[in-house]
Amino acid sequence: MTQSIIVQVGQCGNQVGCRFWDLALREHAHVNKKGIYDEALSNFFRNVDTRRSDGENSDITGGKIRSLKARAVLIDMEEGVVNEILQGPLRDVFDNTQLVTDVSGSGNNWAVGHRIYGPACQEQVVEKVRRAAEHCDSLQCFFLIHSMGGGTGSGLGSYVLRLLEDEFPEVYRIVTSVYPSAEDDVITSPYNSVLAMRELSERADCVLPVDNQSLVEIVNKIRYMSHQGKPGHVIKKDSTVISGQGGACGAEKPFDAMNNIVANLLLNLTSSARFDGSLNMDLNEIAMNLVPFPRLHYLVSSLTPLYTLADVSVPPRRLDQMFTDAFSRDHQLIRADPKHSLYLACALVVRGNVQVSDLRRNIERLKPSLPFVSWNQEGWKTSLCSVPPVGHTHSLLALANNTCVKPTFLELKDRFMKLYRKKAHLHHYLHVEGMEQGCFTEAISSLSSLIEEYSQLDATKRMLTPDVPRLTIAT
């Protein structure tokens, strides 16, 4: 069995991370009734004997659960959020050896996070990550969680990404990035996002972009549906998708509902690495199958069911609806319309009581309505995990490498240019040593060329592409 480490950076990264740990614990508690430390748990958790007096907690393999410790490194340049976590209900799964903090924050400035805190924290970050890695016997993947809009998550987060690449070149790097909405209260968020994106394009194996506007819309729609309260349409109270209820954390904080959605994305993505199934998708198969060109590794994700509610018995019609919904606009975690753009590849990560024949039937049914790039007409990767999310009988995570990410990037570019033309707030960045205007121009041209790559693929959509002439053999 392999292990993964979560590196959560900045306020957003830590808050989303927290929701992930809470729900992960709850999911394992639901499945693992005997309290035995099993392979599934070992993916994200260590089992340690805390009674040892020498301070160094030693790992216990197998046997009863003693004390679970998250395989995580928590990084923030202010203390508020991390302290709250350490005093909250999850305090037992973290300890001081997993933290890297400072006091003043990056002030929504990528340059402060990347150029000042990056080098300053480098040694500490590497040491803590290495320590977490030493507790793994086969470390497979880092999950970096951060926001693109602030200073620490975007600046230091992308710096940490580089450290991971340098120190652990063999370990996969999957990044969950929360993109700011258009009305974001951080004025400099377009700068921060574009500067961070350049790093993500170069150094991540996969990026799962999520945008706050979509999360807000999803949460609102769920609230609306659950308050309608039609008989037979009740959202089950214990469904992890929509609420944190039943978890260790009591009262809900403002971002919690939104962060639950992101946490569920990660839970589903890693389900096959944690639990058994008849068709496993290992984490190292994700990039291999979904990333045809190195920079085009942005995967649009959608979760279902979100609004159709957790019934106990599932007529096949309802099951098919789950597959249909995964391709609709209002289930995507960024504002995007995959059906009207071009698919480069698509993965379906299914959990629960679903058969291979259900998968095949639905792919056959949906394929005609989904445009795929000419050289990957059969670009489907599927996985089946037998354990469904808590409170559901089945679930689906669709990961699409699709040109529908382009509008999000174009919009970001526009917002960046609006500020940049006026040189607004630029001096805050240029103050920082080593930060030159060149960094901005390089970042924006990196984004432009990424957009251009998607455009070129998009352009092939309407062309009739005949088969490429084959090699001829002299006979």
């Binding site: 068709l279 291999m288 000419s374 990957n376 990767k381 599927t382 084959r470 090699l471 053999i473």
Partner: protein, 452 residues
């Protein structure tokens, strides 16, 4: 003589286990149902092929299990141990913690060289435990990373180590869609490399076997285990003891060597396909009876019309009159007639001596450059196989894999033209040149089979 099987990757290990189940069950049943000398000889010969007796009296498979992740192997070892019939040899496996992630290059360039020594040592140990080695049978899928990439690398090592032994590769070809997006690349790389190394490649296509499960076995929710049972049945029907021409005592002959000498007679033609008849769920089997003329008539039509299953055979296709040169080739295309280079027919069961396979000797079935007597062989055994009173299996070196191969290469080539996914391979040391070489090699194979 004994066969050492080498199971690689998830598919190889799962199919390999099913094969051992089928041959051991069949051997035990033969002894039970046919108490005389005949049953005993069959039983002893079958077991000696695939198993050895340990000091404790337990039967251990002459098999080596290889995967880069532990799940599948752990499961295989545990279920075999529970079977009460046989087990895997102690320590006859090698696994690591992380698979090759569907990347042929990772299997071939990284895992292969890294673990060569350990794996080759396990095979050597098993080979040395055979009184007489018939050959090495490797089993793997061509679509993943470990079986295909590492399997190819290990085949290469074994070729160097045993230059004079037979190496037969059993390959599972992928479903056309839904599992591994880069499967056509992995397949092209595997097949092109193995073509240089292998003595023969015995192919099962998942799509075809799936259809057999659905239409002939009437299985609703088809699992890999169902598919593997069919594959194992067909493989077992070939590898179990049979009279290869001559007297019954020929049981001790070399099954792998005899198979190769009958079928793989030319370095450019190494692709072997299989079909068997009948396939039927055990519940319907009880109410059916078969005659040899009926079975052979169907099987022959399956051969010439290129159907892998007795349902939906095109009875319109017939053997064209023997003509010369280009004219003949054109006619073949129109008629969808499947030309053979060589065929091996294996008959098992009651009254097998009455079975007349003369219709397979029609010269029109074969390429013009081999006389039918050289191109066609029959093996037989009086023992009913695997619960079927009568059964017939045909292994064919013919054009029947041409179409799936051509599709596979075509799809990979389309992808390659955009250079999609190539960076995933160059990372580990497989270059664009290597791809081009592989494409060239397979276009050559396609062209050779087309002109048959």
């Amino acid at each position: 003589m004994s066969v050492v099987t080498l199971n690689l990757g998830q598919c190889g290990n799962q199919v390999g286990q099913e094969l051992l189940n089928v041959v051991s069950n069949d051997a035990f049943n033969a002894q039970k149902n046919c108490p005389g000398v005949q049953g005993k000889t069959y039983y002893a010969c079958a077991l000696d092929r695939f198993f050895r007796e340990e000091q404790t009296g337990e039967l251990a498979a002459r098999a080596v299990l290889i995967d880069m992740e532990p799940k599948v192997i752990n499961h295989a070892i545990a279920t075999a141990a529970k079977s009460d019939m046989w087990k895997y040899g102690d320590g006859s496996y090698f696994c690591e913690k992380q698979g090759s992630g569907n990347n042929w290059a990772k299997g071939f360039c990284v895992h292969g060289p890294q673990h060569e020594e350990a794996v080759v040592e396990l095979v050597r140990r098993e080979v040395e435990r055979c009184d007489r080695l018939a050959g090495i049978l490797t089993m793997m899928s061509v679509a993943g990373g470990t079986g295909s990439g590492m399997g190819t690398y290990i085949t290469q090592c074994l070729r160097d180590m045993y230059p004079h032994s037979f190496i037969l590769n059993h390959l599972t070809w992928p479903y056309s869609t839904g599992e591994v997006i880069v499967q056509n690349y992995n397949s092209v790389l595997t097949l092109s490399h193995l073509y240089q190394l292998s003595d023969g490649m015995l192919v099962h296509e998942n799509d075809t076997v799936h259809k057999i499960c659905a239409q002939l076995m009437n299985i609703k929710h088809i699992s890999f285990s169902d598919i593997n049972k069919i594959i194992a049945h067909q493989l077992g029907s070939v590898l179990q003891p049979a009279d290869v021409g001559g007297t019954q005592s020929d049981y001790s002959r070399n099954p792998v060597g005899d198979l190769m000498s009958s079928l793989a007679c030319h370095a450019e033609y190494k692709l072997l396909s299989m079909s068997a008849i009948p396939h039927m769920s055990s519940s319907s089997l009880a109410y059916s009876s078969f005659t040899w003329p009926g079975l052979l008539k169907h099987l022959r039509q399956m051969l010439i019309a290129n159907a892998r299953m007795e349902e939906g055979i095109d009875w319109q296709v017939c053997v064209p009159p023997v003509r010369q040169g280009a004219e003949r080739t054109r006619e073949i295309k129109q008629l969808q007639f499947n030309t053979s280079l060589a065929n091996l027919l294996i008959l098992r069961g009651k009254d097998v001596s009455c079975a007349d396979s003369g219709a397979f000797l029609h010269p029109g079935l074969y390429s013009s450059w081999l006389p039918p007597e050289a191109a066609f062989r029959t093996w037989s055994s009086l023992m009913p196989f695997n619960g079927y009173e009568k059964s017939a299996t045909l292994i064919s070196n013919s054009q029947s894999l041409l179409q799936p191969l051509n599709k596979m290469v075509g799809k990979a080539w389309n992808m390659f033209a955009s250079r999609a996914y190539i960076h995933q391979y160059t990372r580990f040391g497989i270059s664009e040149e290597d791809f081009l070489d592989s494409f060239t090699a397979l276009e050559q194979v396609i062209s050779s089979y087309t002109c048959l």
